[in-house]
């Protein structure tokens, strides 16, 4: 019989198959993410504007930007609708000069530089008071939303509004803190380390686990053990620890699941100073930054779209065990 589990942070219910669960190995698919280097615009010099170079990492303005500093920032009302100009920035982080597709295959120092680069871009965008949120994320593989170019890169979006998912997470964390006077994530780390069945990896600074109410098979959260709401502050000085954990997880995906497409999203607190007042005055104590890492192995269909309620065909405990046992 299935179980229905509640995600504590956003109060979302997930159906987790138990008896009819598929085996972790059932998700292994044959895919290739390799493309020819001679057609690769990231090997040759991209024609887009170079925004930053940090070691082997280069940041370009996106060739098809959804957010631009082009036109004055404005918010308008159109009847009962709200409209905003798409003020902001849409950037491509090219992670290596070499034609390597998967971040899993980069040197640790290069991965470290990628995270350091995210911080540099975030700190720059923070100075723009119209920017509310910056998301650093990766689409690896066509199934994860990437164009079919096998050159390791990630993206940064700086946007002038707070995304709903971010607001939901902040509200859930605040609700928990208001009641318990403790951080939800700090409690989660404590309980999951004690319980240990959903823990995949741990190093000095980070814990990688499969969330209790995972929406997708192989969904992984990387949570920093030190409490901090903001990625750019929390990561500083610990880039190497995150690089080590990320590389290890990505290699386990690559080996255990035959190089699946995946997304990761860095979930950090919104910028506070926009509009000249603190919108989330307690966020430093009640929110805790983290990373969601999700291979793209299943489809989202009518039930999920109609309810926001997910069906996960495999218990996260089985996934954690599977990922723990992969030898790299």
């Amino acid at each position: 019989m299935a179980q229905i589990r509640k995600d504590l942070l956003v109060s979302r219910w997930v159906i987790v198959a138990t008896e009819r669960a598929r085996r972790p190995a059932a998700f292994i698919e044959q895919t290739t993410h390799q493309t020819d280097a001679k057609d690769c615009s990231f090997c040759n010099a991209p024609k887009e504007e170079l925004l930053l170079t940090n070691g082997n990492v280069r940041v370009f303005k996106s060739g098809t930007p959804f957010f631009l500093h082009g036109q004055p920032f404005s918010r308008q009302r159109q009847g009962l609708y709200d409209v905003s100009s798409s003020w902001g920035s849409h950037e491509v982080v090219v992670e290596t000069p070499v034609h390597v597709a998967n971040m899993a295959d980069l040197a640790l120092q290069d991965i470290e530089k990628v995270f350091e680069t995210y911080v540099q871009r975030m700190n720059l965008h923070r100075q723009d008071k119209s920017i509310r949120y910056v998301l650093a994320y990766k689409n690896y593989g066509v199934a994860a939303g990437s164009r079919p170019i096998g050159h390791a890169r990630s993206q940064i979006m700086a946007v002038p509004v707070n995304p709903l998912r971010v607001k939901d997470k902040i509200a859930g964390a605040k609700r928990y803190f208001d009641f318990h006077e403790r951080c939800l994530f700090c409690d989660l780390i404590q309980q999951e380390r004690k319980d240990s069945q959903r823990v995949i990896l741990e190093n000095r600074e980070f814990l990688a686990l499969t969330p209790f109410a995972s929406r997708f098979p192989f969904e992984v959260w990387i949570i920093p053990k030190r409490h901090c709401c903001d990625f750019s502050k929390g990561i500083t000085g610990h880039e190497n620890q995150l690089a080590q954990m990320m590389k290890e997880l990505l290699l386990r995906f690559k080996i255990g699941l035959n190089d699946p497409a995946y997304n990761y999203m860095i979930q950090s607190a919104p910028f506070e100073e926009g509009g000249g007042y603190k919108k989330y005055p307690t966020i430093e104590e009640d929110y805790h930054w983290h990373i969601e890492l999700i291979p793209r192995l299943t489809r989202v269909a009518g039930f999920e779209r109609g309810t926001g309620f997910y069906i996960n065909p495999i218990p996260p405990e089985m996934i954690a065990e599977f990922l723990r046992e992969i030898r790299i």
Binding site: V83, L164, G302, I311
Partner: protein, 167 residues
């Protein structure tokens, strides 16, 4: 330049690309020709290959699971939630868990394997909708159920696994 629009119901912002809009035909299409009629468990005459029906519409009163149906509803063979079980609520440390109580049903919309929903006549379509209504009303009698969602997955990329028209 793109525009940001806010959905007034849930407050979600959406980027609308009005600078380089794609054309309506720029999206990839899937072939939806119904196949595998010879082994389809939803076709009339193969009622014994599905779980026993929970409701059906027949032109004349017939025996349940006989083959003269116009619309037929069966429990999903691989249900996400099961109706026979007891509803159990439990706390595990800081987490909340409920047993997988519920119903997961398949409405077979038409006996014909080759008809998609767009091929149904208004009368056939009305039978499908009134079947939805009957299931909805039946399930709403169970005080343990809080919500019923009726949905359709058409095509593999929408999550369909069987070609025969169903919701």
């Amino acid at each position: 330049m793109a525009q940001l629009r806010r959905d007034p119901i849930v407050g979600r912002w959406v980027v609308i690309d009005d600078e380089h809009p794609k054309g309506p035909n720029d999206f990839s299409k899937e072939d939806h020709t119904p196949r595998h009629a010879e082994i389809c468990p939803f076709c009339p005459g193969r009622e014994n290959r599905t779980p026993l029906e929970v409701d059906a519409v027949r032109p004349v009163e017939g025996v349940p699971n006989s083959s003269n149906w116009q619309v037929r509803t069966i429990p999903n063979k691989f249900p996400a939630l099961v109706h026979e079980e007891h509803l159990v609520k439990e706390g595990i440390g800081m987490f909340d868990v409920i047993s997988g109580y519920g119903a997961h049903e398949v409405v077979i919309e038409n006996p014909s394997h080759n008809k998609q929903m767009t091929d149904l006549t208004p009368k056939e379509m009305a039978l499908v909708l009134s079947q939805y209504q009957r299931r909805y009303q039946y399930l709403s009698l169970d005080p343990n159920l809080k919500y019923v969602v009726i949905f359709k997955n058409f095509g593999v990329s929408a999550g369909a696994t069987v070609d025969h028209s169903q919701s």
